[in-house]
Symmetry: C2
Subunit: 357 residues, 2 copies
């Protein structure tokens, strides 16, 4: 059995009895029942995912996978592909958006070269797992071979296994790759059957003419490659993204290891969607952090059945939304663990009155 | 001139030139322009409010004002009024929701007795500024005298002055007061002219029959007291809330001292709304943190022109949404201050290419 098949086989359904047990404690805290809304949901879900009624979220890590995209030569992005390695180096120096927001949330950032078309040589802090030097131009051919797509997924699975073993409590996903909204839109167009225009946005900031071109390029890529939506790895290999594949693997590995995984924006959700199409059970281990400006994001989240909770008009990627999401999920767990119960606070008599009045 | 009039006179319009100057730096950071959405807005606004292009958010404090409401005797709440002092004591012991979320955000919590119908005696940590022992039942009479309403507003102004002098950088608002969604709905009904039913929710969790009664009570209170929407202090005095008045004063004082103030949910926004009706310029100093479940909240925010950014289905109050909001605003300021510029990161050449391609 391949590593991917084995991982999928080992993803277990959530033990739903933990929801109820955790809610019992939440209902005993000094607040009206349910009044902390989704913070309570986060606590319940973390308890169920980790099968622990006293869950801990201390060691937090975001994986930012980087890869290049041959389709950039079709003029779909506002930025040239040299920016991918430059931003990787910026991540390693701590100067990017993800570094600032991860520090704010007390998260580590691990930067993974899974498909950048650049030779970094030896560079401190970079996790070097390059499978390809960028995808091919999907308007003309398949992004990568099926074997390479599987290798990229395995990189994500291996990282999940490694960091689970190291005792991390929560993962976040992130990515960097000039032009990678293009494959992401292509992927959701194929799975949803929606017109490309409905699931395509303006990425990092392209004008109307470039947008029209981007839509045409994606339509051509789908026509040319004929990805089979019943075969998620076929869709991934043909439309690509080494970083999207890495995220898919990380999500599968997180679910297998019973580790909650917070999915960033549009591109990350493309990776999470491939994982979901491979095995629906991963959904219960995932959290969608924020509402991206990219309109295809909403279609993805509806398909998976996840509801985001931060509305900051972000469209940067890198894992920035995941960092914010992780901090709020941690807040939910702290509510669960640190609030006084009615008994502790001597508010019990009033409650009795309230219930009987 | 009264303290309130003097405070209002000293609220200056924002110096909008700071928006542009701050945006210039934001546009120079290693990210596509505008891609951090509202985090960038927060940084711009904090720079403009504090008139400082290198703003600091270290000392953070949330004021949780507590007061009782005579209207509780009409059966509008799921909880008896004894819960107000019990929760005050819970705040002081650090066991409530606001304590947990404020700690998570690195905020202090100051608990203010402004109108609780209970004698706390000497108790460590409580800011004792009691003006009234609860409001009167607004279905029968005015909540309080105009003089008492003004005194409550002055308590908030004084706290803003004091904590501005102590060097705090940002304020949050919070409240505790059994039955205080009732005056809050009444206040927005009067200012908006909307039917009471459209701006009334189920508070901490009442059933349908109690809800219908609550609507009737509010309608009666408005008919009985005839508050004048052109005279915001008249509305405040007649429909009440000592804690709502304190929050109004805190917002006025924050604006005068050029200190950003993050407004929590429905009841806090009722206080902020009174401040806004007194002086529209306060709007530029305020941030709305979250979307409350209470449906009148949206009507208030639209009236003021504020857009919240957290969607967690909270309906607890206390300042819990403000704590989360403060953390995200701080994240925006860190983005502004800590991210590398294109020059720092050596990404400039690519950008030149991007701009000219």
């Amino acid at each position: 059995m391949s590593k991917i098949q084995e991982t999928i086989k080992n993803i277990k359904p959530i033990d739903e009895s933990f929801y109820e047990k955790a809610q019992k404690r939440l209902d005993n805290l000094t607040k009206p029942q349910g009044s902390l809304g989704r913070l309570e949901e986060f606590a319940r879900r973390i308890a169920a995912i980790t099968e622990n009624l006293n869950p801990v979220i201390n060691k937090k890590v975001i994986f930012t996978f980087a890869g290049d995209h041959g389709v950039v030569e079709e003029g779909v992005s506002a930025f040239p592909k040299e920016v991918t390695p430059q931003m990787v180096l910026n991540f390693l120096r701590g100067g990017a958006g993800i570094n600032v927001l991860a520090r704010h949330a007390g998260c580590e950032v691990k930067v993974v070269d899974i498909g950048v078309d650049y030779d970094f040589g030896k560079v401190d802090g970079l996790i070097q797992k390059k499978v390809i030097r960028g995808t091919k131009n999907i308007r003309r051919t398949s992004a990568m071979t099926r074997q390479d797509a599987e290798k990229c997924i395995e990189v994500g699975i291996d990282l999940a296994d490694e960091y689970a073993k190291k005792g991390y409590h929560i993962f976040g996903t992130g990515e960097m790759g000039i032009a990678n909204t293009t494959p992401s839109s292509a992927i959701i167009a194929v799975f949803s059957g929606r017109p490309v225009e409905d699931v395509t946005g303006k990425g990092t900031g392209i004008g109307d003419a470039v947008f029209q071109n981007k839509v045409t390029v994606i339509e051509d890529a789908i026509l040319k490659n004929k990805p089979n939506p019943k075969d998620p790895i076929d869709v991934l290999a043909k439309l690509g993204g080494a970083e999207i594949a890495g995220i898919c693997g990380l999500v599968l590995g997180a679910a297998k290891n019973k580790i909650p995984v917070v999915v960033d924006g549009f591109i990350s959700t493309a990776g999470a969607l491939i994982a979901y199409e491979l095995e629906h059970k991963v959904k219960d281990y995932m959290f969608a952090a924020h509402n991206s400006v990219e309109k295809g994001h909403k279609v993805m989240l509806e398909r998976i059945g996840l509801r985001p909770f931060v509305d900051l008009d972000l469209r940067l990627g890198e894992g920035t939304g995941a960092a914010i999401g992780i901090s709020l999920i941690e807040a939910g767990v702290k509510i669960y663990k640190e609030m006084a119960t009615f008994n502790d606070a001597g508010v019990s008599e009033s409650i009795e009155k309230a219930v009987t009045s």
